[in-house]
């Protein structure tokens, strides 16, 4: 007959072993996810750093950030492999021709292999993405927050509003490519705006609109009813109540979700593929003849550039440079936005005490 203490011990060792195995698998699944994420980001960071950073001052590859994409020419000169951007190569050839003319001989132009987009940088893409985000978020936030205020503060909470709310919530799950399809059919073709900044703005804005409305309404409804009653009982009008006792307390929540919306807008490719994005455009967005042309021009964008350079051009060591460099810049951009949002949310949760 075992003592009670021994009984306890024997029982627990048997079960504990099984427990440990299960816990191991659960822990493994959590860490596999992190590992997968880290692998993706790590690879991009490691390989992209080769493009974005440089060993000597100023340590960041300014050319890559400040120039437009160009074709890269690679050729043999005096037994050495030389890489030149399209612009440099032209100058080089002109110089050769000049020299040759001066000395009366015929110019010997080296045979070069050219690689599209492999030289220069991604400046117009960064500008394009920022423009797309700024415009579409202005539209989406203006319309979305106002709608949320109406739905949560003014509208009679009947079955109509419940239905509208449910519809908006469900629309938030509709794939972005469907919004892209809509934008293409509606703005690009039906309105005849062609592939343009403004078509991209509206397409992206409508895509995040359900998200902005839902999140803003959630933030508004999280404000305790007591604040509204307190203000109204002091003789505030409805708008005074909303402006002074509701919005200030909902604003942090609204902003947090808006920033997440920004990350989403910046990261989406499918909706802009056929509404706003150009593969290549020589002019920068502000180089327009008339001011309203600004809205009706297509732009280059980071995500679309990644798509193009990773699937539309031949793969080689030269294209890999621009691929990883672009991906890294893009990820950094989105990461800054996303971590701002996560940080802000953390701060708010820590501060909010009602």
């Amino acid at each position: 007959m075992a003592t009670p203490a021994e009984q306890f011990r024997r029982q627990s060792t048997a079960i504990q072993r099984r427990e440990k195995v299960i816990v191991f698998f659960l822990r493994a699944s959590a860490w596999i996810i992190l590992l997968a994420g880290a692998t993706v980001l790590g690879t991009i960071a490691w390989k992209g750093a080769g493009t974005l950073l440089q060993p000597n001052f100023p340590f960041i590859n300014i050319t890559f950030l400040a120039e437009a994409p160009q074709t890269l020419h690679v050729f043999e000169l005096d037994g050495e492999t030389v890489e030149m951007s399209d612009q440099d190569f032209r100058e080089f050839r002109a110089k050769l021709a000049e020299e040759a003319a001066a000395s009366g001989e015929s110019a010997i132009v080296p045979d070069s292999t050219s690689y599209v987009y492999a030289a220069g940088g991604i400046f117009p893409n960064i500008v394009g993405t920022l423009l797309l985000v700024a415009g579409s978020m202005s539209i989406a936030l203006g319309l979305g927050i106002a709608t949320a205020i109406y739905l949560s503060e003014y509208a009679r909470q009947g079955s109509t509003v419940r239905f509208i709310r449910l519809a908006i919530l469900n629309l938030a799950g509709v794939p972005s490519v469907v919004f892209g399809l809509f934008g293409f059919g509606m703005f690009v073709l039906f309105f005849g705006w062609n592939v343009s900044l403004i078509a991209g703005w509206f397409t992206l804005a409508f895509m995040v609109l359900p998200v902005v409305i839902t999140a803003s309404e959630e933030a508004l409804r999280a404000v305790p009813q007591g604040f509204r009653e307190g203000a109204l009982a002091l003789g505030a009008t409805r708008w005074q109540t909303i402006r002074r006792a509701v919005i200030p307390h909902a604003l942090p929540g609204i902003l947090t979700s808006s920033i997440l919306g920004i990350a989403r807008v910046a990261g989406e490719t499918a909706p802009i593929m056929f509404t706003a994005a150009f593969i290549m455009r020589d002019k920068l967005p502000w180089e327009v003849d008339r001011w309203f042309d600004f809205f009706f021009q297509g732009v280059m964008a980071l995500p679309y550039h990644i798509y193009v350079v990773s699937s539309k051009i031949p793969q080689n060591e030269y294209s890999a440079r621009v691929q990883f460099g672009t991906a890294l810049v893009f990820v950094l951009l989105v990461a800054v936005i996303a971590s701002a949002s996560l940080f802000l949310r953390h701060r708010i949760r820590a501060r909010q005490r009602w």
């Binding site: 959590a30 205020i149 509606m186 499918a270 679309y304 996560l342």
Partner: protein
């Protein structure tokens, strides 16, 4: 208080600009109401626009099928099928020849020339077999060209201004088809001749020698099929002679061709087909693979973080996974196409991995590559929502179970998971919705081959390249004509996606409502 009795309270006064204030309030409410109206209108408009552009497809598709019938393309189809069957037989004979050469090379010391010499009778046989059907193939090609010409002529006719203005009569299909239908008169004789040829050639095949019995058996099977083919030749005649060009194409046909059609073929010289089945199955296959990875990982991680992890681990894992959710899908797709696809191919070529069905992979971009990358999209959704669901299980459940002597895992398995089941089901559904609507990853990594995955190959199906509904929209939208049938077909695919994701979302919400815990 200063004389409260003397002021008339509560009536509208102008003391604080009362009248103006009321009007101002109205304006503000109108402003917000107007905004909400516009937003709801826009969102409604999206649905209406999609439906309008999409549903117009069926009318065009019906017209498309009608031309297919009237121009006689449908008439030629049985003949083309026979041509195709014959081609298949020839190809398989060539395969046998390759096998034979290999077998000879293995078993004997013969060099290449000697092997070729040995196989000369087989080569002659194959050539003879090919030639035997020559009249049939000739006829099929001729008729195909004819039918395609009629179709082109009809389309051109209907695009002229006179026809549109009602100045020209309808295109005269009847006359145009005459030379086509005339073939029926010679077909029976042609069939007899071809069948006789084929039988003669096939019977000569008796004398062929084979390197081993397996090859001989395979050849015998092939010969039987060839004979059956020869016997079946009049079948096409029967079909073609009873064909009625004037039978109207029913409306449901336009729908069923779309919903159950197994071909998505555009810009072809013969006939464009818009069947959504290859895309739908591709989407579902890729989503299934993604969920097969993401569901166990996501839920496992959620249980771990919620029930086991220390505070410090929680504070690391939760934001990290939320951060993964913020990685743009095009970056994941890029990683898939540049890094993972190559890795997967190298991995599948490792000798001892060949037991796995489908390894080594034929294409580095396939459903598996896309599925793995998509899993990374689904995991954060599933993890976050499942973790929420676990968090919402009342603490008292856990305490009650532990107090009864259950272990941690028993508590999780028997108490916490069942209590959180509704939320978890909803999490998985929403993860599915996310994955099925994802575009860039599948466009970049899935291989984009438009064909129904071959499910008869068992698990090998996972390593086949596929195309998806989202991918086809992104890929082909740039090359369509506004209002054309292809344009509308893509809208129809978009509409289908829309309905599919809406249904999934709705089910997810219902799951939460239906399986909700009794409140305590």
């Amino acid at each position: 208080m200063s004389e409260p009795d003397t002021r008339r309270p509560f009536a509208v006064t102008s003391r604080y600009g009362g009248e103006r204030k009321v009007v101002g309030e109205r304006m503000i409410q109108l402003f917000f109401g107007g905004n909400a109206f516009v937003a709801v209108l826009i969102l409604g408009l999206i649905m209406i626009f999609l439906a309008r552009e999409g549903l117009g497809f069926f009318q065009l598709n019906r017209a498309n099928l009608e031309v297919y019938r009237k121009a006689g393309l449908e008439f030629v189809e049985p003949l083309r099928l026979q041509e195709n069957q014959h081609n298949q037989l020839v190809r398989r004979m060539f395969d046998l020849r390759v096998e034979s050469a290999r077998a000879l090379g293995r078993n004997t010391e013969l060099d290449r020339e000697a092997i070729n010499a040995r196989l000369r009778p087989l080569d002659d046989f194959i050539l003879a077999f090919e030639d035997a059907a020559e009249p049939l193939i000739h006829a099929s090609m001729n008729l195909s060209d004819l039918a395609a010409e009629i179709k082109m002529a009809a389309i051109e006719w209907e695009e002229t201004e006179e026809y549109r203005g009602g100045l020209k009569p309808d295109f005269d299909y009847e006359t145009a088809r005459e030379s086509l239908v005339a073939f029926l008169g010679t077909q029976e004789r042609l069939n007899e001749m071809v069948a006789a040829n084929l039988r003669r050639v096939v019977n000569q095949g008796n004398q062929l020698e084979w390197a081993n019995t397996a090859l001989a058996r395979a050849f015998a099977e092939l010969r039987n099929e060839a004979l059956a083919f020869a016997t079946d030749l009049p079948g096409a005649y029967h079909e073609m002679s009873t064909w009625d060009p004037n039978e109207p194409v029913p409306t449901w046909k336009a729908w069923s061709v779309f919903l159950t059609g197994s071909q998505w073929l555009t810009a072809s010289f013969w006939q464009d087909w818009y069947g959504v089945l290859p895309l739908l199955t591709g989407s579902l296959l890729v989503s299934f693979i993604a969920l097969a990875f993401a569901v166990p990982l996501g839920i496992g991680a959620a249980v771990y973080v919620n029930q086991i992890a220390t505070r410090r681990e929680q504070n690391l894992i939760k934001p990290a996974i939320e951060f993964i959710a913020a990685i743009p899908s095009v970056v994941l797709g890029f990683f898939g196409i540049i890094v993972l696809g190559e890795l997967l191919r190298q991995f599948s070529e490792i000798g001892w991995m060949s037991w796995w069905p489908g390894f080594p992979v034929a294409e580095r971009l396939n459903a598996l590559t896309a599925g793995i990358m998509l899993a990374l999209v689904a995991v954060p959704t599933i993890f976050t929502l499942a973790e929420d669901a676990l968090q919402n299980v009342p603490k008292t459940y856990r305490e009650a179970s532990l107090a009864l002597g259950a272990t941690r895992m028993q508590t999780v398995w028997k108490v916490i998971l069942p209590a959180a089941m509704s939320g978890i089901v909803s999490a998985v559904l929403l993860g599915f919705g996310r994955v099925v609507g994802e575009t860039m990853i599948v466009l970049l990594c899935a291989g984009n081959r438009i064909a129904i995955p071959d499910f008869t190959r068992g698990l090998e199906v996972f390593t086949q390249p596929v195309h998806t509904m989202t991918g086809i929209i992104a890929q082909q939208m740039g090359e369509v004509v506004e209002g054309g049938i292809h344009y509308r077909a893509l809208f129809m695919v978009g509409l289908l996606l829309f309905v599919l994701t809406l249904t999934i979302n709705y089910l997810a919400q219902r799951a939460v409502r239906r399986l909700r815990l009794p409140t305590i």
